[in-house]
Symmetry: C2
Subunit: 257 residues, 2 copies
């Protein structure tokens, strides 16, 4: 069983890319082989693992719209992590998908994943901040969903809309889709706002909120500028330890299924 995990939230700047990249490395350090898809046209996940964007490497866009056998992924500097990098043509992907017609436009990624013979134990998808066709393709192709939620008021606002969309998908296009959980990010426990958001989330969503809190730490926002994951940038800091704890908690939740 190879979990395919969508890391999504249409709210912007909540830590989707930071979670995708550091959770990928957390898994890799546990000896799991990980395949990371960067499906955000900005290509933040690609550069956060030190891979050049917009090069001739086969991109996530090529994989998504491949007519024949999909191309191979690109290795990264990290053992056990391969990537399909973002490419500038991903900007036009949603329009290209909408022209495939009702049936195909949300299942192009799933179709090509089925054709792809790979040895990875985990597939992670980094999504753009929207509920458009790219994110819908990811959700239709995934087995699980991890939702980063920033400890801010505005980040709570769109959450019920997102969770409803997941329910609709489960009833329709993708019956196997499970919510792995919500992970609270950029938590600053010195502020009332963070404490209120954590309390609200745990009261309303209970066990769907992961125990692990990701603290706000400047090291997490510095590491991408060096093209490094947090484990490579500050191996034993609070950021790396939080993503290590997140990795362990997700592995436990998957084992308990």
């Amino acid at each position: 069983h190879q979990p395919r995990i969508a890391i999504i939230n249409q709210k912007g700047g909540v830590g989707k890319t930071t979670t995708a990249v550091n959770f990928a490395h957390g898994l890799a350090l546990q000896g799991r082989k990980v395949l990371l898809f960067d499906l955000d046209p900005q290509g933040n996940a690609t550069s956060s693992v030190g891979v050049e964007k917009y090069t001739t490497n086969p991109s996530s866009h090529e994989f998504l719209l491949a007519k024949d056998d999909p191309p191979p992924p690109t290795p990264t500097a990290y053992e056990n992590i391969d990537i399909y990098p973002a490419n500038i043509s991903l900007i036009g992907a949603e329009l290209e998908l909408s022209r495939l017609g009702e049936e195909q436009m949300t299942s192009a990624l799933r179709k090509n994943l089925k054709k792809f013979n790979h040895t990875h134990e985990f597939i992670l998808f980094d999504a753009p901040p929207s509920l458009g066709l790219l994110t819908l393709n990811i959700l239709v192709a995934s087995s699980h969903v991890l939702v980063p939620v920033q400890c801010e008021y505005l980040a709570l606002e769109g959450l019920s809309m997102l969770l409803e969309t997941l329910d609709q998908l489960r009833d329709g296009h993708n019956q196997e889709l499970k919510l792995l959980g919500c992970v609270l990010t950029m938590a600053d426990l010195r502020t009332n706002l963070t404490q209120e958001v954590i309390r609200d989330m745990r009261q309303n969503l209970g066990p769907s909120v992961l125990e692990t809190l990701i603290p706000r730490t400047i090291r997490l926002s510095e590491s991408p500028s060096h093209g490094k994951t947090i484990f490579d940038y500050e191996r034993w800091g609070v950021g790396a330890r939080a993503y290590e704890a997140l990795t362990r908690e997700v592995l436990r939740r998957l084992a308990d299924e």
Copy 2:
């Protein structure tokens, strides 16, 4: 001359909504009548000014796709600020726009703005975090663009892509489109990262970067949970003073044109 200002950045969580709402109130306090369009399906601008989302008020979605005369806007609790609130059907807007055909799909908003007889001196558009059809409609309908840029590395990555898109639009669909400038947000001057981003931005973009810096302050992230702008929440704090300075700087730049 009524400036129509697009507040855009496809990078998520950089302060688009916070800037749209507080700049709107900054203008209103200077006696200018402002019309705010919330074109992000999340509806953060709508709730940040204390207006109920997803009600029967004529929404920005209705305005965008109106076949006859567009409906009137909704007043807010603030003198001089009216709004077209976001509505849940905005989620489907991009697909609806794509079905209007090549010619109309990016000019629907501009067309309806021309039909609309209003007394507002400024129109502000809050955009979702993408360069899809909603944002393109905003850019085609606007006279100016204000780009909030968070003082973070990942926020710099997508900026050149965005500025290129603006150049292409100016050569094509909208010759009058001017870059008002980039405004640096969530600046924490105690960190090297913020100082590096500010230095990079000023070196590379020079006068396109506004002088005004918006500091990171918890009050700016608390005010939306009370449905208040920063001027209403903490009138003389650092957040309100920064947005007051931003308002004055933008008015100066417009006067110098």
